[in-house]
Amino acid sequence: MKKILSILAISFLVFACMPDEIPPIGEKTDYKPMLAGTWNLVKFEQTDADAESKGFPAFATTKDLTNVFASHPYTDFSITFNADGTFTASKGTSYMQMLTSGNWLLNDLEYPSAIVLKNGSTTQTVSLGSLADVIVGKLQLKEERKQSDTGKVKIKYSYSLTKN
């Protein structure tokens, strides 16, 4: 009887220590339909990466370029990501340097970190900021200029857009 009780006790402890099965935490987020739609640029910023790394004051680190050219505001820019994978961008009078039409795709469907714009043989990759904001109609795109010989990031551009 004592033996049976001991075996039962050990079995109870062994099974009690087994990990619980992790329950499903919901459907994977499909960002592509959330990105579909027209996005208008509301802010365009330029950052000197060297100044940022050295902790220079804000005015010597980042410059708001949104309305730096009075007759060519960057707020004229908008981009439409269509659900069929095509896109069109309208520069308006702005000097925005972005492809104006073609196809768009995410670099990774599950964990996207960039949008790839393609037009023929030309490809433009723009990094994505926080995807959490996409749900509330805000999108941040980022581009970097790198030094040719070292690959070091020298200038960063940040585009803040809101959904129509």
């Binding site: 330029q46 000197d48 100044a51 050295k54 004051p57 200029r145 030094q147 040719s148 070091k152 020298k154």
Partner: protein, 291 residues
């Protein structure tokens, strides 16, 4: 006729002397460095300079505003002496390039009987603990005995990126920029240099004229008198995208643009009420190659 011949001889002689004393060309890699940048390489091309043909070429370098100013490679201990340059200052040859020499960091040498490694420019000038002290250094190339040397007086110099932000008479944002980026140039008249027209201190309606140039200094296009804005930091600012600065002449494009020159102008009113235009000197910067 005799006078004319003498004059011609003098002119030819002076041109000849100048050609013999040409400043050496040099390339710094990475192209923009600060006092703490590591893995720096400087390649010197002595073609046409006074040290062309010299087997052992030495570098004599000095940091602006330092005391002692000379680079630690130039002397082993005590004080630097032009007459007894250290063997550590001898530049390394470049295989297959007889007119080229190289200085590469990190550089390990024996100095005052001790092995020392210099990892960056600050350490080369003995300010490794206070790297902000060196902002620019000049150099000349010489023979071991100093009988042959390239021009001094900052004829060849390297300007370092600042480690701390310092207000300056002229600056660009970003500090280093490619010809495809938006550039903002700033003029701080509170820091007007003594060599400038002091009337600029009281000048109004500050405008900027901007020129784009090729590598060899040929002006491609100039845009005159662009409006500036006055910033909270007391600077006059003008922003531009080089590609949109104007219409490029036929056969040229933004890809030909290597340098930029700016001149700021302001109006000063004389007693009679007439406006006089006063200009700053010409500021010049080179565009970087960014991807």
């Amino acid at each position: 006729m005799k006078k004319l011949i003498i004059l011609t001889i003098i002119i030819l002689a002076s041109v000849g002397l100048k050609a013999q004393n040409a400043a050496p060309k040099f390339t710094v890699t990475p192209s923009d460095i600060d006092a703490l940048t590591e893995n720096v390489t400087i390649v010197f091309d002595v073609t046409g300079s006074a040290v062309e043909g010299v087997t052992d070429i030495y570098i004599w370098a000095w940091g602006e505003g330092l005391n002692p100013a000379e680079m630690l490679l130039c002397y082993d201990e005590g004080s630097p002496s032009w007459g007894s340059i250290s063997k550590n200052a001898k530049l390394d040859p470049v295989a297959g390039e007889p007119n080229k020499r190289i200085l590469k960091l990190p550089k390990t040498v024996t100095r005052a009987g001790t092995t020392v490694t210099f990892n960056n420019v600050a350490e080369l000038f003995g300010v490794g603990d206070t790297p902000g002290k060196i902002k620019k250094f000049g150099f000349l190339l010489r023979s071991q005995d100093g009988s042959k040397q390239t021009p001094g007086d900052m004829a060849t110099s390297v300007t370092l990126l600042p480690l701390e932000f310092e207000a300056s008479y002229f600056r660009t944002f970003p500090a280093k920029v490619s010809n495809k980026d938006v550039v903002t140039a700033y003029l701080n008249l509170n820091l007007l240099e003594s060599s400038e027209d002091q009337k600029l201190k009281i000048a109004g309606k500050i405008k900027a004229s901007i020129s784009l140039l090729t590598t060899n200094g040929t002006k491609i296009l100039t845009t005159e008198l662009m409006s500036t804005t006055y910033t909270a930091q007391g600077e006059y600012a003008v922003s531009f995208l080089p590609e949109k600065l104007g219409t490029f002449p036929t056969g040229t494009s933004i890809s030909n643009v290597a340098k930029c020159q700016l001149v700021f102008s302001g109006e000063v009113y004389e007693q009679g009420g007439t406006a006089q235009l006063v200009n700053t000197k010409t500021f010049e910067f080179e565009f970087q190659q960014y991807e």
